[in-house]
Symmetry: C2
């Protein structure tokens, strides 16, 4: 019983399937079956094994298991973004919630891979190449052919937000950001604004570019000038700076389309400091509607997109690939954005 006593130390971490089988008086095969769902196991054997497991505090060695199963039962959420932003933008929190929802129902572990562009990107790719995880969900990604690289890896992967580059080689879930930008702008046009500027997202993200394109189209269709553009990086501070720059160059602005609520909140801060009345002197439309928009003063009229559902959907697509054992044919799901009206426009 030496072996068994030893096995019971360490909270049972060192008990092996062999120990369980021996204690239960069955073969390793039967013990394994009993532990994994109990297919084709007699009630007697099942309860003997259950007992042994309990007594030994046995818990299976995941390395051994995934070695033979070729499954790690974990998926990575890749965020190619400095942690500052990840931990301040409600977008990520909401996204992660959508992911965990789906993942925990299947008892899969989430591995968060924060990788600022640079050397960490290589590390991240190595991690994925080594198949530490069964699949990858890429969340906010900047110019780079990550999509192509993942496709080359043949690792199940889904992007949240249309990727740069080889967007035809991977699956992704997105909202129609062009339509969103357009709708936001139309709100201002219909309100009577004639001089509409925009604080756009980063130029190295598709969401940033698409929303900007929507703004352009709406202005073109209204016959208005589309020359007041400033780019931010989706953070509140960048929104404040951009607003300052924009108003310095175009003091006659009476409408502002902002590519994220966080940036809009920054812009609002600047406007308040300058004593500009919102929406009377300058009307503002934001983007996201993840809580920030209801807390600003005045509340932000904004473009809502179903972030949690998108993330959940992306995760489901990923699990389909994982289950199919293939990176499969690229799928895309695009959600429509909707306008939510509050005080700012």
């Amino acid at each position: 019983m030496d072996r068994l006593n030893e096995a019971m130390a360490n909270g049972g971490a060192s008990a092996t399937l062999d120990d369980v089988a021996r204690v239960a008086g069955v073969s390793r095969a039967t013990a394994s079956r009993a532990i994994n769902g109990g297919n084709r196991v007699s009630p007697a054997a099942q309860s003997a094994v259950d007992d042994a497991v309990r007594r030994l505090g046995y818990s299976p060695n995941p390395a051994a298991r995934s070695l033979v199963r070729r499954r790690t039962d974990s998926v990575a959420v890749v965020v190619p973004e400095p942690d500052e932003r990840v931990f301040s933008d409600p977008f990520f929190a909401r996204t992660l919630r959508g992911v965990t929802e789906v993942l925990s129902a299947r008892d899969l572990q989430l591995v968060l891979l924060l990788a600022r562009p640079g050397q960490e990107e290589a590390r991240m790719l190595r991690y994925l190449r080594n198949r530490h995880v069964d699949g990858a969900l890429v969340v906010s990604h900047h110019r780079s052919d990550l999509a192509g690289q993942l496709a080359d890896l043949a690792l199940p992967s889904v992007f949240v937000g249309r990727p740069w580059g080889s967007s035809d080689r991977v699956s992704y879930v997105d909202t129609d950001n062009v339509a969103g930008g357009q709708d936001a702008t139309r709100v201002l046009v219909e309100r009577g604004c004639r001089r509409i500027g925009t604080i756009a997202g980063p130029e190295d993200m598709t969401a940033g570019l698409d929303r900007l394109e929507g703004w352009r189209r709406a202005l073109a269709e209204a016959g208005l000038a589309a020359d007041a553009v400033e780019h931010g990086d989706f953070t509140e501070d960048s929104g404040e700076r951009a607003a300052a720059a924009l108003l310095a160059r175009h003091p006659d602005l009476d409408g502002l389309v902002v590519a994220s609520d966080l940036m809009a909140a920054g812009a609002l801060r600047h406007l308040k400091a300058q004593g500009v009345a919102v929406p009377d002197q300058l009307a503002i439309v934001g983007y996201d509607d993840l809580g920030v928009a209801e807390r600003t003063e005045p509340g932000l009229t904004t473009v809502a997109h179903p972030v949690r559902e998108m993330a959940a959907q992306a995760t489901r697509l990923l699990l389909d690939q994982v289950d199919g054992g293939t990176a499969g044919t690229p799928m895309r799901v695009v959600f429509p954005p909707t306008i939510v009206r509050r005080g700012s426009a």
Copy 2:
């Protein structure tokens, strides 16, 4: 060459050490040695292996490796907290930065384990018991004997912030929160405040209780009443609510010690809405100094603690345990807090 061609698909994910050995014309043992640091390997063999690795795009199977090494080369950061807070409080971002700093220098992977108290806690413990990771860093933890449970598991683990319960059985890194609370209160006393209330942290966290105790001691030593207490949960909203409740009950307050800057920002919001002048009518001292304090209006006088360094230190303690192959003797490191003066007091 069939096998090898197949091995080269999938970005080399399916090439095995055997393939490498065959291509390099050496044994599996030599190939393994060459790949892992090249001890006792001739230059010729080394370069043959390097070549083969490159040509095959080989990358080792982590499951197989950790099966025999009994190491996963990853550590968990456990956050027993709803994601809302994790992703809004700068404390976590800063902590994570400290952890990654140390971890990436050693090429260890961080696995973020978000586990709201409840069923997810069981899942989290199971994950740790199964030894999916080499060690655990517990970050913000509420009443519960997690410390004892981890000690029972004999898994290397370190707490950031003194744990509840069996704090003598695990290592931890902390700041002297009693001293911090006391110093914060003294700032107000010295300023001439005679009626000092506090918005304390949650009653199920040691940091919350310790800071409250500091407040009590400082008031006792000044001979002032210590009866104006309201608890928050470290979020901005809870700070706003607590301030409202506190001022309703004690309209004569002229000083306020708040257990986190985020809550202080919330309190400030309430005071502004009520037209209370800070610091003239009511002086405020916050806690943390992680960026929020410099952005409020007025800036917050606050208690600073070295969060990044604490996390880094905790990670180093953890790695020592991991390297020693033992949960070792409990160590504790306590950092002193310092006062940072701004406009609010």
